[in-house]
Point group: none
Chain length 422, copies 2
């Protein structure tokens, strides 16, 4: 199936926000073998939306619109679609009941705008949106599909994942397509590519290997389309196994697992508990770990010690250490690990101290200098990073390296007692 | 002038990269009063580029294409444009001399692909690209302008800033345009809209008000175009002041400031220090605060107390309190505030404890129940939230409400000694 994505909103056209919805949608559609032939961003006016519909109906089988739905006056997608397809607006009682229920559970009352929002084009199938008040709408017109979704990313993602993609796949059954995604951390794209060169050269024409790099990690995606009845599942299993044999130490998981989820599984599997002590990452490592449902089984807490006195008082870092070596030093992060293990009483502790920038750099320790330490009651290991000048990137990259150190430390000192697949 | 932006490249359509060029171009064009009526992302094929040209020539005065130029891309854009406009390709000697000079200065030799790259459509004006080998191209066709630029961000930005925008402004002297963005937190879109209804109805035709909601906050954007010499700056100032008078307590800033940056300014302005104690948000509040450069001037640290024993040992929450009222209770968050003020020794402390889910809910305290407390040595204020079922959304929404409580607490107990505009 051929898809046009349309994002509606002046804020995209004047560059006030960057359209990240389209990229996410493109990825998801790609996974089910749909081809995105164009992405159009248009203004939230009748003319803008109609132009996009006209182009889309000419270019594609499916038009996915996001944005321009919601309770305020500038939301006109719905009315424009109804007018364009010559249908009327009807009141949708289930949506009104659902909105009233949501507000009641919050102990708040609805406004007239919320009731107004429940009028829907008569020819729309309503897609229940668990994440917000505006439902999605599905239209079938002359064998083509038009879907309208809210532009709020988590609402759009919910609708795409649970409503739109399953319905599209049913509506346009395609050639068998399969993917394997191998998740790596610890090396960059080009170094991994060099190690996988022979495997890449061995791939048959119907299998493709894509490198999808993110900050600090690289996903490897093997894709196959059975153009002529090839056994794509077996072929992908074989090639994924070859990749695993080549770069075993870089692989933390498969599919859509996050690094923090993989670490959670690992800690649960080994029956270990974890504490963190953060300075420059300021809570991001803890946030990543605690995003994972059920993390309280292994994660006990953190001391975020932004100030010298907090490092000293809460983590027992000696004032002499801070004075002699500085807060960003191997000695300080080692003492932070000892301190956090004592304060929070866990099996493993990890600590981070660095200069995220833009200020605070010196010739000896420029912005982007970071020390990490990880340890248990018997061992402490340390690592120094020299990253870049961008504050947020330094924080994010360091948190990922911290997660990878946890993974490596557990594999080194707590090997699995039975053979597992991780 | 009315502009269409076209970004060329399959990597955008499959979501492998996010198109940030368009947003930057939109901002720059907006600043000179050009109106971007649509952004199209198309595949790097002849069909994709021709479809975009056809749409653009119908919709706009100016088409700005990026991507699909350069030695590895087979120069598909250039050839397609030449073919579409029925012109031939001619060798451009100055570009060839420039490329040879660049390579000579690097001590490297050119490849045949570089010479090939110097063939240009005969009707193109060549725009010198100081940042790379592929120049920009400017075409004038029946009073419309088509410009092709490389997709590499810094090359495109150089060409836009120094070549394209100056030429466009000369070609299409435009109408003045202006914006005011008002940043709010604490109420949803429809409630704000209800309070601003009279102001919205009072807006003249040349002024528009847009609601741009995010999780937990709403940006209000006033835009005006001087169609007939109207004094748009004064009109926007007047309407922005009217909005400020109507919803003063919801406004945390203007323009592109984040809530955490606004709080940083406020704390610096009042000479206050802050500590945090987080349970269910697991470090996200601390991360938001520490994303802001210079936050060490007011932020000292946090205790993330995920476990009962950490709440007890690090924050001094009484075991009886935890047993009698539970970890998610007004009593517990109050004791957490007292504890974090003592542990980290700051002027203000804020605490959060809740059930982020998906597990841990009870009939009395379902998933999404969160208690927050904020205090100093004299006062403690608390707040209960009842959010939803999505773990990450609960965490994110709570962190934003925590930031808003800091803002409100400072305004209430530390009023500015001199009149300021915040």
């Amino acid at each position: 199936m051929n898809v046009n994505i349309v994002t509606i909103g002046d804020e995209i056209l004047i560059g006030q926000i960057i359209d990240t919805n389209s990229a996410w949608m493109g990825q998801q559609l790609n996974l089910v073998g749909a081809k995105v032939s164009a992405i159009h961003s248009v203004s939230d006016t009748k003319e803008g939306i109609i132009a996009a519909l006209e182009i889309g109906l000419k270019q594609a089988d499916v038009i996915l619109l996001t944005g321009g739905l919601g309770p305020t006056k500038d939301d006109i997608t719905k009315k424009t679609i109804a007018e364009y397809f010559g249908t009327t607006m009807v009141f949708h009682e289930p949506t009104w009941e659902r909105i009233q229920g949501m507000f009641k559970s919050w102990g708040r009352s609805t406004t007239p705008a919320h009731k107004e929002q429940c009028f829907m084009p008569a020819n729309a199938q309503i897609l229940y949106n668990k994440m917000g008040t505006a439902p999605g709408m599905w239209f079938e017109i002359d064998g083509k599909i038009v879907v309208s979704m809210p532009g709020v990313p988590y609402e759009m993602k919910y609708l795409m994942e649970f409503k739109v993609i399953p319905k599209l796949v049913e509506y346009f059954p395609g050639k068998p397509i399969a993917h394997r995604t191998i998740l790596t951390v610890g090396e960059g794209e080009s170094r991994i590519a060099a190690r996988l060169e022979a495997i890449e050269n061995s791939l048959p024409d119907f299998v493709k290997l894509a490198y999808l790099p993110n900050l600090g990690n690289v996903r490897l995606r093997l894709s196959a389309i059975a153009e002529n009845g090839e056994d794509i599942e077996n072929m992908l299993n074989e090639k994924a196994a070859a990749i695993k044999a080549e770069i075993p130490e870089l692989i933390y998981g498969y599919g859509i697992q996050t690094l923090e989820e993989a670490i959670g599984e690992l800690l649960i599997n080994r029956g270990l508990t974890l504490a963190t002590a953060e300075s420059c990452t300021g809570g991001l490592l803890a946030h990543k770990i605690t995003k994972v449902p059920g993390c309280s089984a292994y994660y006990k807490g953190s001391v975020i010690a932004y100030a010298y006195e907090t490092k000293n008082k809460q983590l027992g870092v000696k004032n002499e250490t801070l004075e002699e070596y500085g807060a960003v030093s191997e000695e300080t992060v080692k003492e932070m690990v000892v301190g956090v293990l004592k304060a929070i009483e866990t099996d493993i502790g990890i600590s981070i101290s660095g200069i995220a920038g833009p200020g605070g750099g010196t010739p000896d320790k420029p912005v982007g200098t970071v020390w990490l330490a990880i340890g248990n009651k018997d061992h402490i290991e340390t690592r120094k990073l020299q990253i870049g000048k961008d504050r947020l990137r330094n924080i994010q990259y360091t948190a990922i390296q911290g997660l990878n150190m946890i993974r490596q430390f557990v594999h080194k000192y707590y090997p699995a007692t039975v053979t597992t697949l991780d």
